[in-house]
């Protein structure tokens, strides 16, 4: 390597500075929100004049927030399950299939990742308007499944590519039917990929707001939609409290996933 960290000299210091600035840029707003959610000022004054749990109490007192959180969890879990199931089948086709246009199909599967979200949101809104799925749980889950799908396909394809097909063949010769071999041998062997896919897919849905705004109805709101709505009505520290809980839960899911992954791959 010509360009090693050791030989950077003064540039090395600059690199550190940029890295720290980027980290701050990403983290400070979150820290601010968390701090404000515990501040006593109604007007989100910083630094807070004193500390309180009042906004969390208000949050808990309003059933609409709890309902939104439950909706988020429901949509997230259903979308993740659906995305992993479809992603698994798609991955078998992409990895094992030998057909024309395989590369093209893979690119198509990944488009929800690169397509501007607003374009997708408008498109699916228009479609669901015709079939009457707007504002329904089914519509919500379907829309989020499309968004989560590429994030499920990528880890499953990767782990399936790393899995030697001969192992499945061996299971078949041992007397397992091709389906049995997949269920009993291949799926457990690629379980880390499946697990990653599920976590990614869930998190994609969990904090998604653009498509969610289009899919939501007054009775069906996810947490990000509820935050967005509340923000437009009045700027209350309750929103900061809701946001903090959203972030905390996300961190919790990621930490639990990392721990579990280590245990599975032991």
């Amino acid at each position: 390597m010509l360009l090693t960290y050791r030989h950077l000299g003064g540039l090395g210091v600059a690199l550190w500075a940029v890295t720290i600035l980027v980290c701050l840029f990403l983290l400070v707003p979150i820290v601010f929100i968390a701090a404000l959610s515990f501040g006593s000022s109604q007007w989100l004054v910083f630094p807070p004049p004193s500390w309180t749990l009042r906004w969390y109490r208000e949050l808990a007192a309003d059933p609409r927030w709890l309902e939104a959180a439950l909706t988020s969890a429901k949509v997230g879990l259903l979308s993740a399950a659906l995305a992993v199931l479809l992603g698994l089948m798609a991955s078998f086709a992409l990895v094992r299939g030998r057909f024309r246009g395989r590369g093209l199909l893979k690119a198509l599967f990944l488009t929800p990742m690169v397509l501007p979200v607003i374009v997708f949101a408008v498109a699916i809104y228009a479609l669901f308007l015709r079939v009457g799925l707007n504002g329904t749980l089914v519509g919500f889950v379907l829309a989020h499944t499309v968004l989560a799908f590429p994030f499920a396909v990528i880890p499953i394809v990767n782990s399936l590519e790393g899995f030697d097909k001969s192992i499945e063949d061996a299971a078949v010769l041992c007397g397992a039917s091709p389906l049995q071999a997949k269920l009993k041998i291949t799926l457990p062997a690629i379980r880390i990929g499946l697990f990653s896919a599920a976590v990614f897919a869930f998190l994609i849905s969990w904090d998604e707001v653009v498509v969610a705004i289009f899919m939501a109805s007054p009775d069906l709101q996810t947490l990000p939609v509820r935050i967005w709505g509340a923000l437009r009505q009045d700027l209350s520290p309750v929103i900061a409290a809701a946001s903090t809980i959203l972030v905390a839960f996300t961190l919790l899911v990621m930490a639990a996933a990392a721990l579990l992954r280590r245990r599975i791959s032991r």
Binding site: D164, D169, V172, L173, C174, G175, P178, Q180, P188
Partner: protein, 354 residues
Amino acid sequence: MTPAFLSIRGLRQTYGSFVAVDDVSLEIPEGEFLTFLGPSGSGKSTTLYALAGFNEPTSGDILLKGASILATPSHRRNIGMVFQRYTLFPHLNVRENVAFPLRVRGQAEPEIAARVSQMLALVQLEAFADRMPGNLSGGQQQRVALARALAYDPPVLLMDEPLSALDKKLREEIQIEIRRIHRETGVTILYVTHDQEEALRLSDRIAVFNRGRIEQVGSGRDLYHNPATRFVAGFIGDSNFLDTAEVAVSGDRGRVVFPDGTAMADLPVHRSAPGGGATAAQVMVRPQSLRLAATGLPVRVLDVTFLGDTSTVQFRTDWGQEIWMRAGAEEIAGLSPGASAQLGWAPGESHLFL
């Protein structure tokens, strides 16, 4: 004709215009250890995979105890197989790997436990029953794979270059173990390898594959002493091929004149049409059949290499072909690069390929 235990009849496998297996027929008695030997791409693995049911032959048939198995899907063929790559189920320990085929057959727990310990004893890995595959060496993994493939008492065991990923010393160790297991279980084994030494060490019979065809089937001794084709002669054991200028054949003996005018008579003749490659007649003689002689083929010494028990000497003929000899140190004591010599050999130990 009463069918053999296992018979392969006119097996053909084509992929587009490529012929992978071209009219392969074999009759295999029960309990035989038969090796498919050949270079990569010669059709030996494709033939084995047809037996396993992983590819469907274009034409031909495979009969086990007189009944065709082609219509039976792989998982109902009850055939055992050890693969070239490590195929232990990564999330199951050794015991559960060996138990897997018994579990899918719905056997009772006590039976399974007994059979698994019997199999682990067979491959001498009882102490490793609770290990995960990731914590085993390559050799141990292949032995577990062998135990798993034999656990359900298959009539035929297929082995597709199972030792090719192991180093030489370990390979020889497991070869001895495979021979022992073959002896103890009496299972019919079809073994694929490109390593002639491995084939000679293990097999009752060897089928030499080349370009999708079987060139010759026979014991290692047969193939070595009486190669039917140029290819077999070149593939089994070491060999020299000498060009000829004139050939006269009477019966199964031939007389040749080499390009430098040296004549030699009484050479056993082989007519090898298929897959021969070269068209001109050639004389094959093994390096250890060559002797220094008073009158014979005039050659010049190129190089002498000391190899302990034996030495090898590289010669060049007057017409420019290189030929090498293997001999004891005292026989070649006087030779040094640049010297002239005369080479002879017993005509019966060489072969004339037309």
